[in-house]
Symmetry: C2
Subunit: 351 residues, 2 copies
């Protein structure tokens, strides 16, 4: 994170960015009142010469300068949602949830940044907003950067592994969700189950593998978990699946505990021409709008995506108004296993 500006970065010449806006003083003069009165009028207070002010505001097309107001009020009336990638449907649904409950006064400002740029992004966003919902904090440094902003912050989805912090959190019960998925497969008779694990450094990656391991451990039969590592991306899912299915004792079922990974995995299975669920059962994570149109529709571990965003925003807003709970809240949402057609008993030959 560079705190000094880039000497090379071309700066905008002042004023180039547009036409100068009307100021409150111009409106005041036009209406024959003081700027104080205009200010009061704009905030909805009772004013004697309201008519005249309204006319001047309309005629001059006056809109208060957000920077000036923000400077004076020490308030931006904006919140930021930070995530890695807007094209991830889960993120889009989350943002939707945030916006669905945000008070209209707040601007929700959406920012994306990869893990490496996250600190810098937080650095420069911090002063532009009153609060932050961060769905991208995978490392301790990210949390430190968030705290350094001095703004109320809610962590969503990710938490850095083994890092103490006192921020509010809205996460999933990933362990239980994954356990339930793998239990389903075991119940169907699968004994060799491939799991496409995510990065160990990320809580989500660890927990979802943990859940799978728990299920195997608790099973009455001997269950072999074949773990393939991936980066939780589409390509990673594709390649991990290819590795899993290329080996001698291939799994009879695959659990891909991430939406992109699952998509990549399904593509690989599709390209390999393996019949699902006849030769291979499959469970993914997070729903896609069009899962019903897949052949077969994949069983997935689902979550209340937009509720997750809504809860985070509600929590954030109570903090911004200074009346949140005394201690940091930790909200854990339950997942549900949505059964579709991608799971069945293992093929007889390989049982």
């Amino acid at each position: 994170m560079s705190e000094r500006a880039d000497k090379d970065g071309e700066r905008l010449a002042p004023g180039t960015a547009g036409t100068p806006n009307t100021t409150i003083d111009e409106v005041a003069r036009a209406a024959g009142v003081s700027s104080t009165t205009v200010s009061r009028y704009m905030r909805g207070e009772r004013v004697r010469r309201a008519e005249a002010v309204a006319a001047a505001v309309a005629r001059l097309n006056y809109r208060p300068n957000a920077a000036a107001r923000g400077l004076r009020m020490r308030t931006t009336e904006a919140v930021a949602v930070v995530a890695h990638d807007i094209t991830n449907p889960y993120v889009a649904a989350l943002v939707r949830g945030v916006q669905s409950v945000a008070s209209p006064q707040f601007f929700s400002l959406f920012v994306t940044a990869g893990p490496d740029e996250l600190e810098a992004a937080i650095f420069s966003i911090g002063t532009r907003v009153d609060g932050i919902i961060c769905a991208a904090a995978t490392e301790s440094a990210h949390v430190e950067a968030l705290k350094a902003t001095g703004r109320p912050t809610v962590l969503v989805e990710f938490e850095p592994a083994d890092h103490e912090h006192d921020l509010d959190v809205v996460v999933l019960d990933n362990v239980a969700g994954s356990r339930r998925a793998v239990e389903e497969l075991i119940g169907l008779g699968h004994r060799r189950i491939g799991v496409i694990a995510g990065p160990d450094a990320i809580s989500v990656g660890r927990d979802r593998l943990q859940g799978a391991e728990d299920a195997a451990q608790r099973a009455l039969a001997d269950v072999e978990l074949l773990v393939a590592r991936s980066d939780f991306g589409f390509d990673g899912g594709y390649q991990a699946t290819a590795r899993l299915l290329g080996r001698g004792a291939a799994p009879t079922a695959i659990f891909a505990p991430n939406n992109l990974t699952a998509l990549g995995s399904l593509h690989c299975i599709h390209d390999l021409g393996i019949p699902v669920p006849d030769s291979l059962s499959f469970i993914g994570f997070d729903p896609l709008a069009s899962h019903e149109l897949f052949t077969p529709p994949p069983t997935t571990v689902d979550r209340p995506e937009s509720e997750q965003g809504a809860l985070a925003m509600r929590l954030l807003e109570s903090r911004m108004r200074g009346r949140g709970p005394a201690t940091a809240r930790r909200i854990v949402l339950e997942t549900t296993l949505t059964l579709r057609a991608s799971c069945g008993p293992p093929p007889p030959a390989r049982r």
Copy 2:
């Protein structure tokens, strides 16, 4: 659009939003220099006591106040992308394209608003950004609101019908794209083709229907176009398809020229159990990441989504730097027809 604040709207008490940040004066005092020197240092200029300043900046965790800087410089270093719905994959891809070329100095701030709230959203966003990319301007009033901001603006995807304006525009050649799709169907032998038209008030809706009509008109054979109206949403696509397929002389092919509409249409076809392409051919609009996993994968009219965003951002940035072209640019992108497996000749019985 209400210009006065809502008397009822609870405002944030000043200061509640977080911890007060360090100011430039505090840093100056700590480093034993003037605030001017700190300001220069922060902007990357050469400063003699750089060491001391750097130390103070780090120790006090100083970050310049964006509101104060913006007020003074008359620049926000932020741009807004306005769209209807972030969960639409096309919008996400567009935003991606915008961010991929935006200079790092700019914050891209993403805002959603339905057609009815759009004016209000533009009103309050206008003063917070240096430029706007609007992928939601479907009515004249929207364009007027955009112009009233006094900020450089690029219209993307939508333009209000029959409305003169002098804004830059990055749109699709929707007429040609739709014509090509319907020509494909006609070439396969289809003579009764269902088209799920969008709202007539929206340029995209009109043009895509126009293209279909052009294709029918130019055909050497007699082609009957069965037009069903929809709102370009998922449900609208579903219902329009149900209507189309419920009638006596049902079409042998359907063209659904919008991504959500197409998805809804496919769901309806799927629910009805109609074999595609054996009994019914299908063409949609805009690709989905997982189209290959559909059965059958639908042929679609595709566009360079993220290039569209990138072009818009480049245009906007040149305007913001005051060195854009003298007259408004109108960039029209070509679409491509991506053939997948959802099209074939019409069934013999109904040919």
